[in-house]
């Protein structure tokens, strides 16, 4: 509505007349006539930097090229996006960006999907005229999730911006000056000694390989080749919604069946579904929530599935730790069951089981290593965490023709899951699954509605009341931690009373996680269109299932009957719950 009231500006771009609202940039105006000006530091969902100069255009009578990403249009402006001189200037800019670059493209993790490489190609860089001094920073791999390689950094600042503006963490900043400038946490400290919450959004927005996940593929190949190990795998809900993108499927294509078959071909003996862990989380969490409602708190209860969020909680909002659900995440619940319940049933010693988790998330690599998630003998319940990207690479490396695979099915006993488990992968999904469960418990009968569309929140924040039985429950859903801050600050100040809050660290939830595939050509990282498509895939899977409530999952019924007892039992607490503690350095909120 506001846009309509804005003054209109008419300008010409490459001889075409364009009319746009006042305040539009040259880059945005050019997009309206189908010209995508080359760009690098620009990101539509982050603030403007104007630092790379790749997007320069010629404006009549200006006497110098202008950065189209950060220059607003004016009446009568005459823009040329292309001429031999502009193309040459752009090519020179990229050549200069490359002059201190390692140029090890063939052995680089980003080979084939590097924005700098793509730009160099599309702008016609065919030789290196400038051979500059190379950067010689050490590669920093102190973190179990994120590896920082400043030698590949082109100082575009996208990581700094995503960390500050989307995640509210502000762990990264440019340090020093000139050639020695480096993007790093405070005091150029190791990522491990910083306020980093390991969400991996820096990896997603980096145009090169200056940020990458710490690879676990070698450990998994080794385990698969070990005849003494029983290697099992679980896949998070959001993998099935995104893995297809790695094999040319349009975003939002559910690929559950092909993914399972591919995992079998890779050599995993059992393919389990993290969704069952999600169902179990819901049952335990709903029980915990209702206990808190009856015994006076602490409320709001805040969900605890997202390890990036948990890390943020411990570093930024430690006083809210008692509010976090003590439930382990679905991944950790399933891994624990694999090495206890499943090991018992199959008569396999737990130390012979190698549990791999495929996650959309790099923070899960950190979660798996947390001392609370180790077995009594000190070994982790989850032996290795692969990101969606790593799994796609392994499938390609093996030579599996993904698109031609028949559909497979998850394995019993940890492979049966409800649709409520599927939607865990998207923002609002945990809340919706909880509301389904809570309505059943509070009303004592099958809920009259299963879809709570009011909590679906790709936009970032939802704050609403949901009527369940007699109660009007105040709920909030946040994704992207800068959004979460808004809700959490209200809890801290006491300004608002909530009953239950869902927080997922990454924009869009797990579907936008730090380990998801780099977007294909027509999309960008953080793109709401892309996130909506991936979310839609999960809602489609949920909608097509008969079984849509965690409480109806027959596998859980058996699990409680034969092994755990009842929800919230002593055994359930021993195996399925965890704890948190404040951690330093304390973040600024």
């Amino acid at each position: 509505m506001i846009a309509k009231r804005r003054k209109k500006i008419t300008l010409t771009i490459d001889g075409n007349q364009v009319t746009v609202p006042e305040g539009t940039t040259i880059m945005q105006a050019a997009e309206q006539i189908g010209i995508r000006i080359p760009r690098l530091c620009y990101h539509p969902d982050l603030s403007l930097a104007g630092s790379c100069r790749v997007c320069i255009v010629e404006v009549k009578d200006m006497g110098h090229y202008m950065a189209s990403c950060s220059s607003p249009v004016w009446e009568g402006m005459e823009v040329r996006t292309n001429s031999p001189e502009i193309r040459e200037a752009r090519r020179d800019i990229v050549e200069l960006l490359l002059d201190n670059h390692p140029m090890d493209c063939q052995t680089c993790e980003r080979d084939g999907n590097c924005e700098l490489q793509n730009l160099a190609y599309s702008l016609g860089v065919r030789e290196r005229l400038y051979e500059g001094k190379r950067k010689e920073f050490p590669i920093e791999d102190s973190s179990v999730s994120v590896v920082r390689n400043p030698n590949k950094c082109i100082l575009c600042g996208r990581c700094v911006r995503v960390c500050a503006e989307i995640q509210g963490v502000y762990n990264l900043s440019q340090h020093g000056r000139g050639f020695y400038t480096v993007v790093a946490p405070a005091h150029k400290a190791n990522m491990d000694d910083s306020v980093c919450i390991q969400c991996g959004q820096c990896i997603n927005v980096c145009p090169t390989a200056a940020f990458l996940e710490k690879s676990s593929t070698e450990a998994v190949w080794k385990a698969l080749a070990d005849p003494n190990l029983h290697v099992v795998v679980q896949t998070a809900p959001s993998i099935r919604a995104a893995i297809g993108e790695g094999f040319g499927y349009p975003p939002g294509t559910p690929c559950t069946g092909k993914m399972i078959t591919a995992l079998r071909l890779l050599g995993f003996e059992k393919v389990f579904d993290t969704d069952l862990g999600a169902d179990l989380t819901i049952v335990e969490e709903a029980h915990e929530f209702l206990t808190r409602l009856q015994t006076g708190g602490p409320l709001p209860m805040i969900t605890s599935c997202s390890p990036g969020w948990i890390s943020f909680l411990e570093k930024f909002y430690p006083e809210l730790i008692p509010h976090a659900s003590t439930c382990k995440s679905p991944m950790s619940m399933l891994s624990t069951l694999a090495k206890t319940y499943y090991a018992d049933r199959m008569n396999i010693p737990p130390e012979n089981i190698f549990m791999v988790a495929v996650m959309p998330c790099v923070a899960k690599k950190y979660e798996a290593q947390r001392p609370e998630h180790l077995m009594p003998d000190g070994r982790p319940y989850t032996d290795a965490v692969l990101t969606t990207r790593e799994l796609i690479w392994m499938i390609k490396c093996y030579g599996i023709d993904f698109t031609r695979l028949p559909d497979g099915q998850f394995d019993a006993p940890l492979g049966i899951a409800s649709g409520a488990g599927d939607i865990f992968g998207t923002t609002g999904g945990v809340m919706e699954a909880t509301l389904r469960a809570a309505s059943r418990i509070l009303t004592g009968k099958k809920p009259d509605r299963l879809e709570f569309t009011e909590v679906r929140a790709v936009e970032g924040l939802r704050d609403t009341y949901v009527a369940i039985g007699e109660r009007n429950v105040h709920v909030a859903v946040a994704n992207g931690l800068n959004n979460a801050k808004q809700v959490l600050n209200k809890v801290v100040s006491g300004e608002e009373h909530y009953d239950i809050i869902e927080v997922m660290a990454c924009p869009g939830g797990c579907i936008g996680g730090g380990g998801q595939p780099y977007p294909s050509e027509n999309y960008h990282v953080l793109d709401p269109q892309l996130l909506r498509k991936r979310a839609a895939a999960l809602y489609t899977i949920d909608g097509s299932k008969e079984l849509r409530e965690s409480y109806e999952n027959p596998a859980l019924e058996e699990l409680y009957e034969t092994y755990l007892g009842s929800p919230g039992s002593v055994k359930a607490h021993q195996l399925l719950h965890t704890q948190y503690r404040p951690r330093l350095p304390r973040g600024i909120r």
Binding site: A164, Y170, N171, L172, S173, Q174, H175, G176, R177, A184, P185, A186, H187, K188, A189, S194, V195, P298, P318, E319, L320, I321, P322, H323, T326, H577, T578, Q579, Y580, R581, P582, L584, P585, R586, G587, I588, R589
Partner: protein, 187 residues
């Protein structure tokens, strides 16, 4: 309360107390004044000046304390501190050696003095000895070319220095420092 959690998990009072103790009352008060203004963040550089003039340098713990008390992300504080040449991130020695590397001193052998100083102190330009005694800096011209090669130690000018005099000169300062400490502890 949640059975899995410690009763109080709020570490702010502790974090705040550590920061205040480190920076001292005068700096804390200055920060509080700044925070009362409409643009508190714009005082970051002023606060860093204050801290550096008090401690001689900006250590990581000083910067963290400033970040907590001003509620500005530590990465931003250390990014700013590392950008400006004026801010020093390492402690400076008791004695600042400014070796003149200007043209006249250079042709008279300042390069050999530089080598000898580095060897004797075990540090490079811009660094400080581990005992905190000496910081070695290079200067462009000290305006005493007739005495070339020259070096300035704190406010004392040393002219026509030869490499073999270096250990003797350094030793004199070490003795001076020792005497000062001795007389301080005696009083």
């Amino acid at each position: 309360m949640n059975p899995h959690c410690a009763s109080s998990t709020n570490n702010w009072p502790e974090v705040k107390a550590v920061a205040e103790r480190l920076l001292g009352d005068d700096v804390v008060q200055f920060i509080e004044e700044c925070r009362k203004t409409s643009e508190p963040n714009s005082y970051l550089i002023a606060v860093l000046h204050k801290v550096q003039s008090k401690f001689g340098y900006l250590g990581a713990s000083h910067l963290d304390a400033v970040a907590q008390l001003m509620q500005i992300p530590a990465a931003k504080v250390s990014g700013v501190a590392s950008f400006y040449h004026y801010f020093r991130l390492q402690p400076r020695g008791k004695f600042i050696i400014n070796l003149c590397l200007g043209t006249a001193c250079y042709v008279k052998g300042a390069d050999r003095l530089a080598e000898k100083l580095k060897e004797e102190l075990g540090i490079d330009f811009g660094e400080t000895t581990s005992d905190g005694m000496f910081t070695l800096e290079g200067a462009r011209c000290l305006g005493a070319c007739s005495l070339a090669p020259v070096m300035l130690i704190n406010d004392d000018m040393h002219g026509t220095v030869t490499p073999d005099q270096i250990p003797i000169i350094l030793d004199r300062y070490l003795k001076k420092a020792k005497q000062e400490t001795a007389s301080k502890s005696a009083s």
